[in-house]
């Protein structure tokens, strides 16, 4: 059975419009895989559709989310306080298949796309090289230090870490697989890089979702074997399967 509602343990600003949300979750009910997400909604009617947000971290009794306040939904969610309840339906989606991620792995996140990669990095057990790309303000990189083999921070304006785009700093041939989440333009550049070097590339895609469950067929991803649902068949896809 999936969880429907949870108590909020923490909902606080990390930096600017980036927030961290921790909810109660009983891992005996449902095991959470990295790359999975929850559909989040306030219990009032200030917006209609639940919002998909990836699992940033998970423990026996809690799930953590890292989210950016974008529009009406996340604005309402960020107003929720400790001890209040939130509709949190999950865990959903296929997530990353850890069995396929053997050998040397590069984990590449752009902006808020870093969110699902923390839990993945943790599950990869101090093995992954993590590349984190930001526009200017850097956040959450220290969390990655705990679980990664190496962490490279890149900012577009060079204000922290290296300057430029994450894609400038990855030597694809060093890796057995690359895992990425962030702006599509970044992910496709990475997938091209991987292709050239014959490295598998897994990406976590974002689509507008109504249900997040696989029922509405609203979140189509075109693949070589037909339309797939980002929510149920994804959000993680092997880049070579995609028709984009």
């Amino acid at each position: 059975m999936k969880t429907l509602k949870s108590k909020i343990l923490l909902n606080e600003k990390v930096l600017n419009n980036i927030y961290k949300l921790v909810i109660e979750f009983n891992s005996e009910i449902d095991e959470i895989k990295p790359g999975q997400f929850f559909m989040l909604k306030t219990l009032d009617n200030s917006f209609l559709l639940p919002r998909p947000i990836s699992v940033n971290d998970a423990n026996e009794n809690t799930v953590t989310f890292l989210y950016r306040v974008e529009g009406i939904g996340t604005t309402q969610i960020c107003k929720l306080r400790e001890k209040e309840e939130i509709q949190a339906v999950g865990s959903l989606g296929n997530g990353f298949n850890l069995n396929e991620l053997n050998g040397k792995i590069a984990v590449v996140g752009g902006g808020i796309g870093i969110a699902p990669l923390l839990y993945l990095t943790k599950k990869l057990g101090n093995n992954a090289d993590v590349y984190l790309g930001y526009k200017d303000c850097v956040y959450y990189n220290e969390e990655f230090e705990k679980y990664a083999n190496s962490v490279t921070v890149i900012t577009e304006d060079g204000s922290s870490g290296k300057k430029g785009y994450v894609t400038d700093y990855i030597n694809y041939e060093n890796y057995d697989a690359v895992v990425t989440c962030g702006p599509e333009i970044m992910m496709f550049k990475i997938s091209d890089g991987c292709k050239a070097k014959n490295v598998s590339c897994y990406m976590s895609l974002e689509r507008r979702m109504a249900c997040g469950l696989g029922a509405c067929l609203g979140c189509t991803v075109e693949t070589k074997i037909g339309n797939k649902r980002a929510c149920k068949d994804g959000p993680v896809f092997l880049s070579e399967e995609l028709l984009i």
């Binding site: 059975m1 999936k2 429907l4 909604k41 009617n45 917006f47 209609l48 559709l49 639940p50 509709q87 339906v89 507008r208 979702m209 109504a210 249900c211 997040g212 469950l213 696989g214 029922a215 509405c216 067929l217 609203g218 979140c219 189509t220 037909g226 339309n227 149920k232």
Partner: protein, 300 residues
């Protein structure tokens, strides 16, 4: 103890709550949230004779208390439905309703013939989908056109036939009467309302098809009015839907005359909403000492 059972079209439903076509897949996804046998019934995703990939571009868009969708009847086709989905649906031990759309008369008729030989409990004829080019809705605007297609389908159909109307029909009561006269055993309404959204940053219509279908709480007041109009106009049982999100909403539709209820967009908003609604109706009945829904049905 309130009795929620409903008799209609020669069948007995455990309760009046069905899940609406296109909003519940073929049920499987929701079995992770509750026991589907608690439902009155499940409508399949809209089927067409042959499989359809659905529409390109953005498919769902939120509006104030509403959802616009342009799925475009993506479905595996009737044959694969029968072999792959129907057995699973039947295993949920609730009524299984096959929702059938089509572009041509022949498509409908061939689809019906295939479904005749299955253990589908009921066929919902979709003449109201706004999301496929010459599909479905063309039949659902003018009463004369609907009369023709429903008559033909009815004579081919060996299952009880529920006809699903479009709120975009020229005259909803006239349309319902035409379908009843053509032999429909039941009428369901409303399908989505033709709507539009524009992305002003991109200076483009949000949907590749420009127009798409609006559903959700925002349409409830219009759906309720149409259901009331239709209930006053026909004798066959009416299945009401459109924006139902709570037991109170469902009871409004029942008081307006609906025999059955469908929950659509609500399933997306809260996956177990249908169960909340069933329980809420029961509570309302107990609290108000209502023994069967016949006591309040159509009292407005």
């Amino acid at each position: 103890m309130a009795d929620l059972k409903v008799k209609a079209m020669g069948m007995q439903f455990k309760n009046p709550i069905l899940t609406a076509s296109g909003t519940f897949g073929f049920g499987e996804e929701f079995s992770e949230f509750y026991d589907l046998s608690l439902l009155g019934g499940i409508c399949s995703k809209g089927l067409t004779l042959n499989s359809k990939p659905g529409n390109t571009g953005i498919r769902v868009w939120e509006t104030p208390m509403g959802l616009i969708n342009s799925i475009g009847l993506q479905n595996p086709g009737v044959d694969r439905f029968i072999t792959e989905e129907l057995p699973k649906m039947k295993s949920y031990k609730t009524k299984v309703i096959a929702n059938l759309g089509g572009n041509t008369e022949q498509e409908y008729l061939t689809g019906i013939e295939k479904l005749n030989n299955t253990d589908v409990d009921l066929i919902e004829l979709n003449i109201s989908c706004p999301n496929v080019k010459c599909g479905g809705m063309a039949f659902g605007i003018k009463s004369e056109v609907a009369f023709e297609i429903v008559s033909k389908v009815k004579s081919a159909c060996q299952k009880p036939l529920m006809v699903k109307l479009s709120p975009n029909a020229e005259n909803i009561a006239e349309m319902a009467v035409a379908c009843e006269e053509a032999g429909a055993d039941s009428i369901s309404l409303i399908n989505t309302i033709k709507a539009m959204a524009i992305d002003i940053k991109k200076r483009k219509a949000v949907f590749d098809n420009v127009y798409a279908g609006l559903s959700g709480p925002c349409v409830k007041p219009v759906a309720l009015r149409m259901v009331h109009e239709v209930c006053k106009a026909v004798k066959v049982p009416v299945c009401g839907l459109g924006g139902i999100m709570s037991a109170e909403d469902a009871i409004e539709f029942i008081m307006a005359g609906a025999t059955l209820i469908q929950i659509g967009t609500g399933n997306f908003i809260k996956p177990n909403i249908a169960i909340d609604i069933i329980n809420g109706i029961e509570e309302f009945m107990d609290k108000n000492n209502i023994k069967t829904l016949d006591e309040i049905r159509g009292i407005i």
